[in-house]
């Protein structure tokens, strides 16, 4: 039966994947090339050969999540308000002698925004790549951790060196937890992606399980480096994914 796709396939995501993979192979780049998606700019590690993709997204133009007003508002200072559970920004703009403040809550819509944008970034991944990554992860962790990951998208592992407990999560920063005075305390959340990630999302350019493996193996092999390279998000921030 002929479908619209077979009569006029046009440009498909599979075709774009193939072209980008071929470009990476021709350059001998082992880890591949980042895949741009519509409306979500890439943030690429500057040392990576494809750093030219930094800030690029399909469709071009301004980030649809940003304001359409092209003003020169400048953020002078910002802090987190525990009272309001929001980040307070002190701003100023040319021509206005008085500074003003904006409060953006760290709950509700901002967290939903991350969820929705993660789904948008998932266009860059393939299900086959995720399944391959799952199989690789299976050979790296205990059966109980594997089952926990398959069922809940997360698993615990304790560092032999530092005693810090890590909660590795799919599509979320890793949470570092330490026991102190009979209670568990969140030390920080660690966000790190090989090659790069999509702006204002938890999504890396690799499939989610590859990101988890990178976190896990870096923790095991060089915990100090893991903490040094990762971005630390406080537990209250929407970016922490808690």
């Amino acid at each position: 039966m002929e479908t619209e796709a077979t009569v006029n396939p046009g440009v498909t995501w599979d075709l774009i994947h193939q072209c980008i993979n071929q470009a990476a192979q021709l350059r001998g780049e082992w880890a591949g090339a980042p895949m741009p998606v519509h409306g979500i700019p890439l943030v690429v590690e500057p040392r990576y050969p494809f750093a030219g993709f930094n800030g690029f997204c399909l469709g071009g133009g301004a980030d649809p999540r940003s304001s359409s007003d092209e003003s020169d508002v400048r953020v002078v200072n910002s802090w987190y308000s525990v009272l309001h559970s929001a980040t307070v920004y002190i701003c100023e703009e040319p021509g206005n002698p008085r500074r003003f403040h904006v409060m953006l809550p760290e709950w509700g819509a901002k967290r939903l925004d991350y969820w929705v944008m993660n789904i948008g970034a998932s266009q860059a991944w393939s299900v086959e790549a995720e399944f391959r990554a799952l199989e690789t992860l299976r050979g790296l962790v205990k059966r109980s951790a594997w089952e926990s990951y398959v069922l809940t998208g997360s698993f615990f592992e304790t560092s032999r060196r530092s005693g810090v407990q890590y909660l590795f999560r799919k599509l979320r920063p890793t949470i570092a937890i330490k026991a102190w005075r009979d209670r568990m305390h969140i030390l920080t959340t660690l966000c790190l992606h090989p090659i790069g990630y999509y702006q204002e999302t938890h999504a890396g350019v690799m499939v989610p399980t590859d990101d988890v493996m990178a976190h896990l193996l870096l923790m095991r092999s060089d915990e100090h480096y893991f903490w040094k390279k990762a971005n630390h998000h406080p537990s209250w921030a929407a970016s922490a994914g808690i």
Partner: protein, 130 residues
Amino acid sequence: MVIPIDMLDIESEVVDGPGSLAVLNCGVGDMKFSFDSAKPAEVERAKGVIEDMLRRGYILMIEEGGTWHRVKTFDAARCEYVILDNATEVPAAETEVVSTEEPKRKRRGRPRGVPAKSVRAVSVAPTSGG
């Protein structure tokens, strides 16, 4: 040096034993390849791949005896990963005898070679925060 990836025999099945190297790849999923230490051609090809990865800033990690280590360099002549042994610090609080000597300094890990054919390795591209 650019090594065309299609010239390599990339394993399509999971290869996680000694002498294997898995590369996290964002396009096709994980690439895994292994080399037979009894075949000089494969060993030479693996050397080229590992040296190329390290030159490009990839992070290589190996598993030896259930412990993971980060690879610092690669000794091509011996086909060995060079790692730093994880040194342990002796906390001052654990010493009962008050000593007039200078406190012990933290010892840095000593470089040690690990034969590439005897361990499995995983490679990760240069990372950025998120």
